[in-house]
């Protein structure tokens, strides 16, 4: 056990976490140079494209240190986005140390801090590393000061590296060996293992990633998941290198995987504790939480007949993603579909993209909504995540919306712009602090529904990419929320309804009408598009009728070309949704979500 080192790499997005992980695998020979894809650990196509980690990868790395001893380093990856804070915390809980990558050209950012807090919370040894040292704009001394000043960790001996260029990787490995504590635990105690991730495999069932604290797990053991209270027989154990390698057992202090014919990931939740059914531990490891979705939207098959396929796919995704919730719902406009809950907007986008890419399904999503608390006249409350379910306004006493505490870190020259942005989004400033001479942290309370759309993008663009954001839910608060309805040809389309703050309703309504006017093709008749609150129309556009749709010339008997055009037209029609007599292309549903307040 003394030669095991369990560690994570934490960083602000784009500071080079995945690149460092790749370089470590390469340097230690776990992955051959020729197999090295850019950012090996982010193995979902989607992850590589977005430069973020969604599903974790964990890898056992044999390392012969300069002291001549061979160590087993277990690298435990963490997801890299604010939507996944809980998952990050469980991954960190499986480690004894964390390598903190800080971009030497940028310094400490909001997520750096958020991640450090999480790591400190798990009592991890934090090893700062300064990355991108090869760049001319690198300021290692300033950033070291910043780390010491803001985080309070000694950064004097922090390795100066360039993950991209492979500079200083050996220093990081030596640093890990020297400074990450060896795991402690009782090899003969009652089994306690922490689940920090899992994925579904078609052949093996759920593959659970676990860190064993006390005891050991081997094939044939009957294990018990202490929070979900279910027993399973272990069919395989092993470790990742980086592919799965079966082994006899996972011992105290080790990290590995367990297969036990578990049917869905929700049955092996991140944070749950594994023990032996025959000889259970008295209590589970601390920190387990059943994560709650923050953002909901409707997901509907683009073609009604694909309902079953979408259901299958959603179930499969849920098998792999315990944070993703769904339940059937029906929309007058869209038919049968699902109300789905996500950790945040990014999580939502990822799920929708996976449905489309991995399952080849076209889906329509409705406006994302946070969960509103509706207090009725009789004092009862209802939690509303679907605008269509808002009770009769006459019965409502008031509506409350979720508020988050947001920590925004920016260079000082952007303070004015960002304050303006936060103001527009109905933010309340709590306080502002100068972290260093040039860097400012703004603490705000913001309504979650203002954050979920594009706040982060707006922040990035207003600060030329230097702004960073971290937020967490704090409470519900009464607010003037109204239901904005959209009418096509005078008929309300429930899928477009949204709950918005009174002050935003007009802009929002106008935007949706304008967008729909662009997207809805002309019909044989004129189509009025209206936005209304209750009976009051607040915005209106009109799609004029078409006059001409012909192929005038028959090209020398080229019927196939003509047929293709007609088929395309028919296909386009199929991809449209019929609302009364109006046909709406599916992209309309996505387009109305792309609301930029600053336009």
């Amino acid at each position: 056990m003394k030669n095991i080192r369990n560690f994570s790499i934490i960083a602000h997005i784009d500071h080079g976490k995945s690149t460092l992980a790749d370089r470590i695998l390469q340097t230690t020979g776990v992955v051959a140079d020729r197999d090295m894809k850019e950012q090996f650990l982010d193995n979902m196509e989607l992850e590589r494209e977005r430069g973020i980690t969604i599903k974790l990868q964990t890898t056992r790395i044999p390392y012969k240190a300069k002291n001549g001893e061979t160590y087993v380093l277990n690298l435990i990856d963490t997801p890299g986005h604010v939507d996944f804070t809980y998952e990050v915390s469980r991954s960190l809980a499986a480690c004894e140390g964390a390598v903190l990558v800080v971009d030497a050209t940028q310094g400490v950012e909001a997520q750096t801090l958020a991640n450090v807090y999480l790591a400190l919370n798990e009592n991890l040894e934090i090893l700062p590393v300064l990355n991108k040292i090869d760049l001319a704009s690198a300021e290692p001394e300033r950033v070291k000061d910043e780390i010491e000043e803001i985080i309070g960790i000694d950064a004097t001996n922090a390795p100066l590296i360039s993950a991209k260029e492979g500079i200083g990787i050996a220093d990081v490995l030596e640093d890990i060996v020297a400074n990450v504590p060896a795991p402690s635990g009782d090899p003969d105690g009652k089994l306690k293992a922490l689940i920090f991730d899992s994925y579904y495999d078609n052949y093996k069932g759920v593959v659970v990633y676990a860190r064993v604290f006390d005891g050991s797990i081997r094939k044939g053991d009957i294990i018990r998941l202490m929070n979900s209270k279910k027993d399973h027989e272990v069919t395989e154990v092993g470790y990742f290198s980086p592919g799965p390698v079966p082994s006899d057992s996972i011992e105290s202090g080790e990290v590995g995987y367990i297969c036990a014919a578990i049917k869905q990931v929700a049955d092996a939740r991140v944070g749950d504790t594994i023990t032996l059914a025959a000889d259970p531990a008295p209590e589970p490891l601390p920190g387990y939480k059943k994560v709650q979705p923050m953002v909901y939207c409707g997901v509907y098959p683009a073609e009604g007949e694909k309902y079953e396929s979408v259901k299958d796919a959603i179930e499969k995704l849920q098998v792999n993603d315990a944070a993703f919730h769904f339940e059937p719902e029906t929309s007058a406009a869209l038919g049968f579909g699902f109300r789905c809950g996500f950790l945040g907007l990014l999580h939502m986008e990822i799920i929708v993209e996976r449905l489309e890419r991995e399952f080849d399904l076209a889906v329509i999503t409705t406006s994302p909504s946070v969960v509103y608390k509706v207090v009725m006249n009789d004092g009862t409350t209802e939690m509303i995540q679907n605008p269509s379910n808002l009770p009769d306004p006459l019965r409502i006493e008031h509506i409350e919306e979720p508020i988050v505490k947001a920590d925004i870190m920016i260079p000082k020259e952007y303070v004015g712009t960002v304050m303006e942005l936060a103001q527009e989004r109905r933010g309340r400033m709590l306080h502002m602090e100068y972290i260093t001479e040039n860097r400012v942290q703004l603490h705000y309370e913001l309504p979650l529904n203002e954050v979920i759309y594009d706040f982060f993008d707006a922040l990035k663009s207003k600060t030329r990419g230097y702004g960073s954001l971290d937020y967490e839910f704090i409470r519900y608060e009464p607010s003037k929320i109204v239901k904005l309805d959209i009418l096509l040809n005078r008929e309300q389309v429930d899928a477009f309804s949204m709950l918005v703050h009174e002050s935003k309703a007009y802009y929002r309504g106008r935007f949706v009408c304008e967008k729909l006017k662009e997207i809805i093709p002309r019909h044989q008749f004129e189509i009025p598009i209206q936005a209304s609150i209750g009976q009051k129309v607040i915005a209106r556009e009109t799609v004029s009728a078409y006059r001409k749709d012909v192929i005038a010339k028959c090209y020398g008997g080229d019927i196939s070309r003509k047929r293709k055009l007609l088929e395309k037209q028919k296909e386009g029609k199929k991809r449209m949704r019929q609302f009364g007599s109006v046909e709406v292309p599916q992209e309309a549903f996505t387009a109305v979500l792309k609301f930029d307040e600053n336009k």
Binding site: K548, D549, G556, G557, S560, E567
Partner: protein, 385 residues
């Protein structure tokens, strides 16, 4: 089936000449400018080979009743080469005495000698790309001829003995006025051709006129204006004795283009030359549109780049959406004769819907586009593919 019946199966032949003096600004057809005589000779020889190899496949089963030499601008080929092409058909296929043999020609490429030579080669019909009689509009289209040259070519063709002439017109050009268009129609009628085609301008991606529009240099004509032009043309032509028989075509009685009608009636036609399309014996095929491939293709099938055996349902849907281009529409009895099925068993839902939208009308025997249906015909056709 009787052998005799098969032998007399009619066939149309389309021959594609992909050469032009200059590409027109609205044109996205397969054609090349700046080609020389020796290239024309090689290309013609390749087509002669192609005709020969098709005839081996067709093995005397067909009797050719229409030939259409189109382009491009076929009239820029020398009369000798055009004569060689027709001779290649005559040598390999039975061609009916009264066959309709059309050549497309552009004013400005025609001389009395050429026209006489065409006549002697066997052409019976000329389709002339007049497009407009307005110098400004001709220029906008990038046409190389003047209005005067149209008059001249037309009368020269008459003198050479052509008693079946078509004039092609285009309307709906950016900035075109109703007055300009009516003048074009009147002028065309004044020449008393047997046939007039009137095409609503289609802006094709990649053409010069497309770029003008994208870059904002010119503005497309509003659809409403285009439609007024279209219906005015139909009205004027009808009054002048031209029967409106297809979306964009009108003719004096007995002069509807027999070759083009084959496309709309699911009849057999063979396409020869670069990128040419065929529909023979239920098989649709297309030749390669790569000139180098076509020129080097020395095997029977080396030129064919695409082939599709129509299923019965392909045939049925094509019969319907092509047939509806004809103003007489489709006849339910003919439909039953062709496919042994009742039209209404197959398409009642779509058809009722379209009738409800005012795009189709029916009586006991036929189904046809309404006046509105002529404007929105793709809305109708796409229901049947």
């Amino acid at each position: 089936m009787e052998y005799k019946y098969i032998r007399e199966k009619p066939l149309g032949i389309y021959i594609h000449i992909p050469f032009c003096i200059k590409k027109c600004r609205y044109c996205d057809f397969l054609s090349f400018a700046d080609t020389d005589r020796s290239f024309h000779e090689i290309y013609t020889a390749k087509m002669t080979d192609e005709i020969a190899s098709w005839s081996l496949i067709h093995n005397n089963m067909y009797t050719v009743d229409t030939i259409f030499v189109g382009g491009g601008t076929p009239s820029i080929l020398s009369p000798e080469l055009l004569c060689d092409l027709l001779d290649a058909v005559f040598a390999r296929y039975r061609v009916r005495e009264d066959a309709e043999i059309t050549i497309e020609a552009n004013p400005g490429t025609l001389t009395p000698e050429k026209l006489t030579a065409f006549r002697n080669a066997g052409f019976t019909r000329i389709s002339m790309g007049a497009q407009s009689f307005d110098p400004g509009l001709l220029k906008m289209m990038g046409r190389i001829h003047t209005p005067e040259e149209i008059f001249e070519s037309f009368s020269t063709a008459r003198k050479a003995g052509f008693d079946n002439i078509n004039l092609d017109l285009i309307f709906g050009l950016p900035g075109e006025t109703q007055k300009q268009w009516m003048k074009d129609i009147d002028t065309a009628i004044g020449l008393t051709p047997e046939h007039i085609s009137f095409y609503s301008l289609q802006i094709e991606e990649g053409t010069e006129i497309y770029h003008d529009i994208v870059s904002g240099k010119v503005e497309t004509l509003p659809d409403l204006e285009d439609r007024i032009m279209y219906h005015n043309a139909i009205e004027t032509l009808t009054e002048a004795g031209y029967g409106h028989y297809e979306i964009s075509n009108a003719a004096r009685p007995g002069f509807a283009s027999r070759h083009n009608l084959k496309y709309w009636s699911l009849d057999d036609y063979l396409g020869v030359g670069l990128g040419a399309h065929s529909y023979v014996n239920g098989v649709r095929s297309a030749n390669t549109n790569q000139i180098s491939d076509y020129m080097s293709g020395n095997t029977d099938h080396g030129r064919i780049s695409w082939l599709h055996k129509n299923s019965e349902s392909d045939d049925i849907s094509e019969y319907v959406f092509l047939g509806l281009r004809k103003t007489e529409g489709i006849n339910f009895d003919h439909f039953r004769q062709a496919f042994g099925k009742n039209f209404w068993d197959l398409y009642s839902e779509e058809t009722e819907k379209l009738i409800g939208r005012g795009l189709l009308e029916r009586d006991d025997h036929t189904l046809r586009l309404t006046r509105l249906g002529l404007d929105l015909s793709n809305q109708v056709f796409s229901e049947y593919v």
